[in-house]
């Protein structure tokens, strides 16, 4: 892939997530479509997109209650993702899972737990199976900093290291200030450890700190880590730091500045006050657009065109999802037991 193609692919990947989730906020105005709280990946797009760009289709990914971005990044179809979130028959899970549980077994996301820490040992299990089967498939488990408050985190890390499992623990620390993103410490309000990255290191697990708003760096770093996993050097750990988007402060996402304008990449004064600083310093999409323009890998025209194409794609996906019927209630009795 040329550097221009790569720049375009990463930008398109991140925009797919952003435009899809902005669409969800609009859809959620109709309370019959999204009936309860839901979690968005806005601000973290570079992490999922960058990391998944280093994976093969047959590699496994696990995610959390904040899963929409990971499913799209692994190659999920926006139509089936939106259909799932609004509880329709064409959703990846036939409408049974909804926003908490979006998964896509056919592209390597077999099961999504919305329980904090719920996926961690299961992910270690798919890595174990790969190792037992002498396959070079790897498992990447995305999870939030909150998981490090749960006991299952420690048990899983210990076993993964004892058994040398081919798994990447990709921890998304998503409430770090822009100034702290490159630093060593990563304070959270609920953890006694001064630096969360010290913890996997205490287990002897090689740990990389990444600025999770920098898609290119994430992609390169994870590319290297995945190669090491395939060579039998697992487990490995990443702390990926991002800065919370102001729309994500409450349980119910808001769009304080309206839909993101791609032009804000070069017109940084434009967004409303509440989100201006965030878009300037912490929006992974605008950071990448700006970087590509400066480096000459993408022109402004090219960036605007990619954005327009993605918006059209998401509009079409949403229209198709809205046209999908609700599931037949009686079908729910099928498949409870395998």
């Amino acid at each position: 892939m040329t550097s221009n193609e790569r720049a375009a692919t990463l930008l398109r990947g991140m925009l797919r997530i952003r435009r899809l989730e902005e669409k969800l906020i609009h859809l959620a105005e109709d309370k019959t479509l999204i009936r309860a709280h839901y979690h968005l990946y806005v601000g973290q797009e570079a992490a999922g997109t960058g990391a998944c760009s280093a994976l093969r289709r047959d590699d496994l990914v696990f995610t959390t209650h904040r899963n929409h971005g990971h499913v799209i990044a692994k190659g999920g179809d926006p139509f089936r993702v939106i259909a799932e979130i609004i509880g329709r028959r064409d959703g990846y899970l036939g409408g049974r899972g909804g926003t908490f549980h979006v998964a896509a077994p056919e592209i390597g996301i077999p099961h999504t737990s919305a329980i904090v820490g719920g996926s961690l040992p299961i992910a270690a299990g798919t890595a174990w199976a790969a190792k037992l089967g002498r396959s070079d498939r790897v498992t990447v488990v995305f999870f939030g900093d909150g998981v490090m408050e749960e006991g299952v985190f420690y048990e899983t890390l210990n076993i993964a290291q004892l058994w040398r499992l081919p798994i990447l623990f990709y921890m998304e620390n998503n409430s770090v200030t822009p100034e702290e993103r490159p630093g060593r410490g990563s304070p959270t309000s609920s953890h006694a450890a001064k630096a969360l990255s010290d913890i996997p290191r205490a287990f002897g697990i090689d740990t990389t700190i990444l600025d999770g708003t920098r898609v290119d760096r994430v992609a390169r770093a994870v590319g290297g880590l995945v190669a090491r996993l395939r060579a039998g050097e697992g487990p490995l750990f990443v702390e990926s730091r991002t800065t919370r988007w102001p729309g994500n402060y409450g349980s119910f996402p808001r769009l304080p500045g309206g839909d993101t304008e791609i032009g804000w990449a070069w017109d940084q004064a434009a967004p409303v006050e509440e989100v201006r600083e965030w878009h300037a310093k912490s929006d992974p999409i605008l950071l990448w657009a700006r970087e590509c323009e400066r480096a000459g890998t993408l022109s402004r025209d090219a960036i605007v065109t990619i954005d327009r194409e993605v918006r059209e794609e998401i509009e079409k996906a949403a229209a198709a999802a809205l046209a999908s019927p609700p599931p037949d209630p009686r079908a729910v009795l099928e498949n409870a037991y395998a």
Binding site: G87, G95, F100, E150, H191, P329, V332, A336
Partner: protein
């Protein structure tokens, strides 16, 4: 005592305020109580007033539940507010395998009076992992008390009894869909001792035995049954599953001879099944028809509304069951 009508969520706030005031050592671990409802702010003044006795724990359910047990053993009571009931599954080793056995295992010398407060059941779009109903599991752990208030007054009186008077551990399960329901509640402090069911509505044709939200659904069903089918049902509100008020159920069953048991937990091996077993084995002589159960259909709770409604023990399913036991 003067009564006035307040919401279930307001009753929680009053109850919490009352117990914090009465026992100056009482601790709260978490303090939201009302979940993602319109009433989410009702606890704000209390959180402010008692901030120094409220701990906001990390996402470490098994540890903070165990910590509450240890504190209780040495004389500091707490109410642990865990939010969604499924989060308490993370703490089952401490709740079921420790708190429940402390008293019996010490031959009665050690007590662990902790209240574990959870929001159970099908709250709307909670899907498989945020709609759980563990009341049957907790009921099956000898040593644990299980309380399930149906009305604002129940809530206020049961929480006060559990937090201040009871010597044992209690799992208190609230249903998010009850939060904005209103009912008469005495103004001052009062307790509802455990094991005292109440008859919410009298009738001769059939008995509906229920707790929590199923009491409200049973009362709605009772209106429909009377209006559309001329069937007069009696509604027994259990308030606590453990201890269970066998006598009140038996009195009603003796009168009606026909019973529907309903709970928003899985129909098979859930609370409705346990109650059906008790009625069938202890009250067989009074029965004039097989006991009918109405519970959650046997699948993980789905997200889509069509499916979610279908698996819920709705009013219509209670009406159908009552008509069946009565035979018209």
């Amino acid at each position: 005592m003067p009564e006035r009508v307040i919401s279930f969520a307001q009753a929680i706030a009053e109850a919490v305020e009352g117990i914090m005031e009465e026992d100056p050592r009482l601790q709260l671990i978490g303090a939201r109580f009302t979940g993602h409802t319109k009433s989410a702010r009702v606890m704000d003044p209390i959180m402010e007033r008692y901030a120094d006795r409220i701990s906001w724990p990390p996402i470490s359910e098994i540890a903070y539940c165990g910590i509450a047990i240890g504190a209780a053993i040495t004389g500091v009571r707490s109410v642990v507010e865990m939010s969604t009931a499924t989060f308490s599954y993370e703490a089952i080793p401490q709740i079921v395998n420790e708190a429940a056995i402390v008293h019996a295992n010490s031959d009665g010398r050690v007590c662990a009076p902790v209240v574990f407060h959870v929001l159970y059941g099908i709250r709307g779009a909670g899907a498989a992992q945020h709609s759980g109903s563990p009341q049957g599991w907790y009921w099956s752990a000898p040593g644990l008390q299980v309380a399930m208030p149906a009305t604002p007054a129940d809530m206020k009186g049961l929480l006060r009894y559990a937090a201040l008077r009871s010597s044992g551990p209690t799992v208190l399960l609230d249903h998010q869909r009850l939060m904005e329901g209103f009912g008469p509640v005495p103004e001052g402090p009062f307790e509802i001792p455990f094991g005292q069911a109440s008859v919410e509505r009298e009738g001769d044709d059939a008995t509906i035995v229920a707790a929590s939200i199923q009491v409200q659904r049973a009362l709605e069903a009772a209106d429909v049954l009377y209006r559309d089918h001329g069937i007069a049902v009696e509604v027994v509100n259990l308030r606590t599953l453990q201890p269970l008020d066998h006598a009140t159920i038996a009195r009603s069953v003796k009168k009606t001879g026909r019973v529907v048991v309903t709970d928003e937990s899985p129909e098979d091996a859930g609370v409705a099944s346990v109650l059906a077993g008790i009625v069938a084995s202890e009250m067989f002589d009074s029965l004039r028809a097989p006991v009918k159960r109405v519970g959650v259909l046997p699948v993980p709770v789905p997200y889509a509304k069509t499916m979610e409604d279908f698996v819920t023990p709705r009013v219509e399913r209670i009406v159908a069951a009552a008509r069946e036991v009565v035979g018209r």
